[in-house]
Symmetry: C2
Subunit: 307 residues, 2 copies
């Protein structure tokens, strides 16, 4: 039984108020795999890259227990490229350039060896591509988690709504939750989105933490207050990787365990933003993660018995 | 031993995207007293009103254990008036009109019967007025908590910095923390402000909760996700009232108990925003407060043993 991750593997060029990166490795699928591989192995990756994607990056993922059988390498084409510039608040950004390249004609193929999929993480991609992966699964996974973005709400809403009926958990940020629901109040937005298919909704609020909604229950996980947020790129994907990684490790999809999984995701995201790109995720150890989890406990722990 | 509260008592006229109020009772001191009186009695109030301030409002406060000996009533003058309009996000607002009236020449006088002050809450006011109250205290209170606002940073910064050296806890919102420290990162802002005098700093982030900083420690209290935020007026003062009220009740000013006090403040603020003005604060019972505290525990409680 395994975790299958679908998502882009890409080159990014990033500008923040604090610095500028060269063309570095990025992509939702890459961040998810790096993050989730701290919790569970193997991770069965579905993606596509061009001939320009460095072999050593693929090797590094293999070494972490990421199975690349369904990562298509299109030798004569170029890898997906995105460049963006963050505003001072680090919560908003402008896209400077997008070159779809290999993503333009991406047709994922789920190999037989991936059919033992128990946990399926659909990283942000064209909704039709996400759907195609679900449809190729001969046995419905125990849990399907889906990320998406405002862009698909604007150009492929019908497809997006179709996929929503097939998944268990939806991950969006606050502005996307508002856009999808046409509600400003996040509680009202959540109530509406929970009628569209997903039984669980996670609303990510960047530096303001994340909310988990399920039926009439709500859980809040803070973001760790950091001296410097150096580069938020991939933080949402890293969060998703920690979330699904913990669930796949524990094989427990109760609401209680999802709370813990969200804290894992928040801890992983707090590392991601400390350096450019994937850098920090490649450095941290299990000891670093445990130490950060302790900081989360300290951050929110209070005693109400004094009342 | 008692809690002394200094703050404006006022008329407000409020517009939000969801409605518009008549001229209703407001003022930082009023909100603080209503909120804190759920926790401790007596509250010794210092303020000033005009002859137009309704006697029944004063009676209502008295009935809740608020001592009005140092509330000056200037029969021939008018009460402070503020009107404002909130934006859709309910976190930002435009001031439409301010009539200082009695506040223009407010000179607080601390009576002998207030000299047993153990907890002093300085609501948002001219820094020089806040200072004058501190200086009139013959014995330094056990804890001095101060609220302020960006306006004083712009027109009375030297006075404000002077008062900062005399207090234990400062309450500001996120944009005020940034303005006072010239730092964008709230962690850096906090570190700088903690060198200006206060040993504890609370940064209020509205719907995004509140942070408590002390030495190298940090605690985060969420705001309760609400279906509707009807009117945020007075939420910060209500928060302050719950915070100081709990501390005055328990007489414990440890960091641990301040965490609990911030949860109390957050719970009180979550009621305040549910209706226009003071309305909701006049309705709630101790049972309502206890129920809401349970919701806060539910909201942030997670189990890390599963890791």
């Amino acid at each position: 039984m395994s975790l299958v991750v679908v998502g882009s593997m890409a080159f990014d060029a990033i500008e923040t108020p604090f610095g500028k990166s060269d063309k570095i490795i990025g992509g939702a699928g890459t961040y998810i795999a790096w993050s989730a591989s701290n919790f569970t192995k193997p991770i069965k990756q579905i993606s596509v890259v061009g001939g320009d994607f460095p072999q050593e990056e693929l090797n590094a993922l293999s070494a972490r227990g990421v199975d690349l059988e369904a990562v298509q390498i299109k030798k004569d084409e170029k890898t997906f490229f995105w460049s963006g510039r963050y505003h001072m608040d680090m919560n908003t950004r402008d896209t400077l350039e997008t070159q779809l390249n290999v993503l333009e004609s991406f047709t994922p193929v789920v190999p037989d060896s991936y059919q033992d999929c128990e946990f399926l993480m659909l990283g942000n991609l064209v909704p039709a591509v996400q759907k195609s992966v679900i449809l190729q699964m001969k046995k419905r996974p125990k849990l399907i988690v889906m990320d998406t973005m405002n862009f698909w709400m604007e150009i492929a809403l019908a497809d997006l709504k179709d996929v929503l009926t097939m998944v268990d958990v939806l991950l969006v940020n606050d502005s996307e939750a508002r856009e999808l629901s046409h509600e400003f109040s996040l509680v009202k937005a959540a109530n509406k989105i929970l009628t569209m298919g997903p039984k669980y909704l996670i609303i990510k609020k960047g530096e303001h933490g994340a909310l988990l909604f399920h039926e009439n229950q709500v859980f809040f996980a803070p973001a760790l207050p950091l001296e410097d947020v150096f580069d938020p790129t991939g933080a949402g994907d890293t969060f998703a990787g920690g979330f699904i990684g913990h669930l796949a490790k524990t094989k427990d999809i109760s609401f209680e365990n999802m709370k813990t999984a969200i804290i894992m995701g928040s801890a992983m995201a707090s590392f991601c933003v400390e350096k450019f790109g994937l850098q920090r995720l490649t450095e941290i150890t299990r000891t670093d993660i445990d130490k950060r989890l302790d900081e989360f406990v300290e951050l929110v722990n209070f005693d109400i018995d004094l009342v």
